[in-house]
């Protein structure tokens, strides 16, 4: 049997991860620390080849699957989208992190884990079995623990890592209970079969709630979000970009995949997801507004953006048509790019202003004052990312938010109109904390920290520029990526089966 192209997208990074580790570990003596980064970039390059071939195949035949033993992996719109974001950010983070973690011990572990987590997330997107989703998800979690606590001798990053682990583990146990309930009710774990065996009732509702809370920890639904600001602010910046740009979204995808088959006949899920989305937006915005650290502010803003996605997806669950999901999933992609850019740009500034001179202080918002004079490109990229996050045109964030709004209005339900107005209101509110940062960056009088900063290496600036261009391009011509979001939205609706 010939494996379809998308399998290589999963296999290459998973096989590549131990290789990166081995090469980095044994090659360090001869070529120095950077060898592991090049090995990682090589693996990503090979994965891109697989991705392009898979995407080509997907343009002919929207779904592909691969069965091995009794189980199968399948590629559909959502998996392709997730794979794209994961791979894109993975590549950028690998090239960005070279300077960032120079001098830290154990770089080969960092890169091996980075490669592994990308592979695992692509796998998560392709899983078609309830339990298989969980185990990919758990693999992703285990991989990310080390990445969060990469600075394993700093108390704060250990604290963040431990909290992250405990909350994540407590959540994933709830998922197991949900799987147990589904198994007991339907006798199967395959998503397609669950859909056909499904009978609405209290146990299934209970299972859904457990899925929501369990996977909700990873995708940072509001009362479960508490690990996120700690983990995102303490991880190395590349990893913050990864966590915020794909990992929480991967949690969301796991949640959607698990809930979709059991949500088919219930009207409960749409309103619940929209409520969660509103809570996320309001909570995330309020807390981001009070922050003084750049990375923490960005972390809280991720919570807000998960809220936008949830509203879009909730509308799809409510109305059973794909436009909301298209908006939500387009926003998922855009958020990956925007937040990735924001964290990388903040990381670049953190590196030049603090880490490079050896102190481990966090990057405060006040430190950014006048940053544009010394680091014009990094400051511009950070500003673009923030403005795009705030949903100002002509950047990508505006277009996906518009789609979400549009989906909410399509129903003609006045209650949903109010929801959309609330979402828009939150979007405006978020300007209240993004805009001052932009203003601060463009002050004439630099802060003391900026004056003492070091020059910025090109290897850090290049990913920033590329991501900024991508954000502007998507904002001006959103249809560029329409084929992907469209098939992803359709895939989610197909998951309902009616």
């Amino acid at each position: 049997m010939i494996a379809p192209a998308f399998i290589w997208m999963i296999v290459i990074p998973l096989l590549g991860a131990p290789l990166v580790y081995l090469v980095g570990h044994s090659g360090r003596r001869f070529w120095g620390d950077r060898v592991s980064r090049y090995a990682a970039l090589l693996v990503f390059g090979a994965t891109w080849v697989a991705f392009v071939r898979a995407a080509q195949a997907a343009s002919m035949e929207p779904t592909a699957d691969f069965t091995w033993g009794g189980m199968s992996l399948a590629l559909d719109g959502i998996s392709l989208l997730l794979a794209f974001v994961a791979l894109l950010l993975g590549t950028f983070v690998a090239s960005f992190s070279g300077e960032y973690i120079t001098g830290e011990a154990g770089q080969e572990k960092f890169y091996a884990m980075l490669v592994a987590i990308v592979g695992v997330m692509i796998g998560l997107g392709c899983a078609t079995d309830l339990f298989n989703i969980w185990i990919w998800f758990e693999a992703m979690a285990v991989t990310s623990y080390l990445l969060v606590a990469y600075y394993h001798t700093r108390a704060l990053s250990l604290e963040a890592g431990f909290k992250y682990l405990m909350q994540s583990a407590a959540g994933s146990v709830l998922v197991l209970f949900a799987i147990g309930i589904v198994l007991s009710q339907t006798g199967t774990l395959t998503l397609a079969e669950i859909r056909s065996q499904f009978t609405a009732g209290a146990p299934m509702l209970l299972a859904g709630v457990l899925f929501l809370v369990g996977y909700g920890v990873k995708s940072a639904l509001v009362p479960l979000h508490t690990w996120l600001p700690d983990a995102h602010s303490q991880a190395p910046s590349g990893i913050s970009a990864m966590l915020s740009g794909v990992v929480i979204e991967a949690g969301l995808v796991a949640l959607l995949r698990s809930i979709a088959p059991i949500a088919a006949q219930m009207t409960f899920w749409g309103p619940l997801l929209i409520t969660c989305g509103l809570l996320n937006m309001i909570g995330g915005n309020l807390m981001a507004y009070a922050q003084t650290q750049v990375k923490r502010m960005l972390a809280y803003s991720s919570i807000t953006h998960v809220g936008y996605m949830l509203v879009g997806l909730g509308v799809t669950f409510l109305l059973r048509e794909s436009s909301g999901a298209q908006g939500g999933l387009f926003h998922l992609l855009n958020h990956g790019l925007m937040k990735g850019l924001a964290f990388l740009a903040a990381g670049a500034l953190l590196y030049t202003l603090h880490s490079a001179s050896g102190d481990h202080k966090p990057l405060m918002i006040a430190d950014l004052a006048g940053g544009a004079r010394r680091y014009p490109l990094a400051a511009l990229c950070l500003s673009l990312a923030l403005l795009s996050l705030a949903g100002l045109p002509p950047f990508a964030g505006f277009m996906s938010k518009w789609l979400i709004f549009k989906a909410g209005f399509a129903s003609g339900d006045p209650l949903l109109w109010i929801v959309v107005a609330l979402v828009a209101l939150n979007s405006v509110f978020s300007l209240a904390y993004y805009a001052p940062v932009v203003n601060l960056l463009y002050r004439r009088k630099p802060s003391k920290v900026v004056l003492e900063g070091r020059p910025l290496p090109w290897s850090m600036v290049t990913p920033l520029v590329i991501l900024s261009l991508a954000i502007i391009a998507l904002g001006i011509w959103p249809d560029m990526i329409g084929w992907m979001t469209h098939s992803a939205g359709e895939a989610l609706v197909a998951g309902f089966h009616f």
């Binding site: 033993g69 884990m113 796998g123 285990v142 606590a149 209970l206």
Partner: protein
């Protein structure tokens, strides 16, 4: 009803051991009670005729995990803590009971097919049809090992973090307060804090 008796007994043993694991004074005792929970659960699983799981649970759950816990306790050392929890017990209890109540309310009609012990014994093919799970397990193990190595690697000298001193002082005060509350246990704060000094452990090299 009589054939239910072993199940009742095991159930009571499991819950009793779990409560002891929660309430035990020392970490070591907790770990041992946890092993007991695990062993009893393995028995119960065996009685539900899931033989392979029972074996794995006994060897991994009761065996390996206990050994790891004891190893970790040996490396990290036990630490007497005052038993005031962060979250008031009332709140913790309330939420747990409330969730339990709602779940039981929600699943009232939840009927399981009653099985007389010992049907479907054909569970003998290891990982039958679930090869992808097995592969991802390998990934998890790889990541876990790398994580373990990464987190424990190249530790600097203990207590070089300034918080440590502060923490030790605060804990001493707390212990003192605890003592004053229960007067008939004489122990000097010095000895308490000496016990908590971290035993030298070999740094795990990667």
């Amino acid at each position: 009803m009589l054939e239910m008796l072993p199940f009742f007994l095991i159930a009571i043993i499991i819950l009793y051991a779990a409560i002891r694991a929660l309430r035990a004074e020392g970490l070591l005792m907790s770990a041992l009670w946890l092993a007991a929970v695990s062993a009893a659960i393995a028995t119960m699983i065996y009685m539900l005729s899931a033989n392979q799981v029972a074996v794995i649970e006994l060897s991994v759950g009761a065996g390996l995990v206990t050994i790891l816990l004891i190893f970790a306790i040996g490396v990290a050392g036990d630490e007497p803590l005052s038993d005031t929890p962060v979250v008031p017990r009332v709140i913790a209890g309330f939420f747990v009971l409330a969730c339990a109540a709602i779940i039981s309310f929600a699943v009232r009609p939840f009927e399981l097919i009653a099985v007389e012990g010992g049907i479907s014994t054909h569970g003998s093919i290891f990982m039958q049809g679930r090869d992808i799970d097995l592969l991802v397990q390998v990934v998890v193990i790889f990541s876990g090992v790398l994580g373990l190595v990464g987190i424990l690697a190249e530790a600097r000298a203990p207590l070089d973090y300034p918080v440590a001193g502060e923490v030790a002082a605060r804990r001493d005060q707390e212990l003192l307060a605890m003592e004053q509350r229960s007067e008939h246990i004489p122990a000097s704060p010095d000895s308490a804090s000496k016990e908590t000094l971290i035993p030298d452990s070999p740094a795990v090299d990667d």
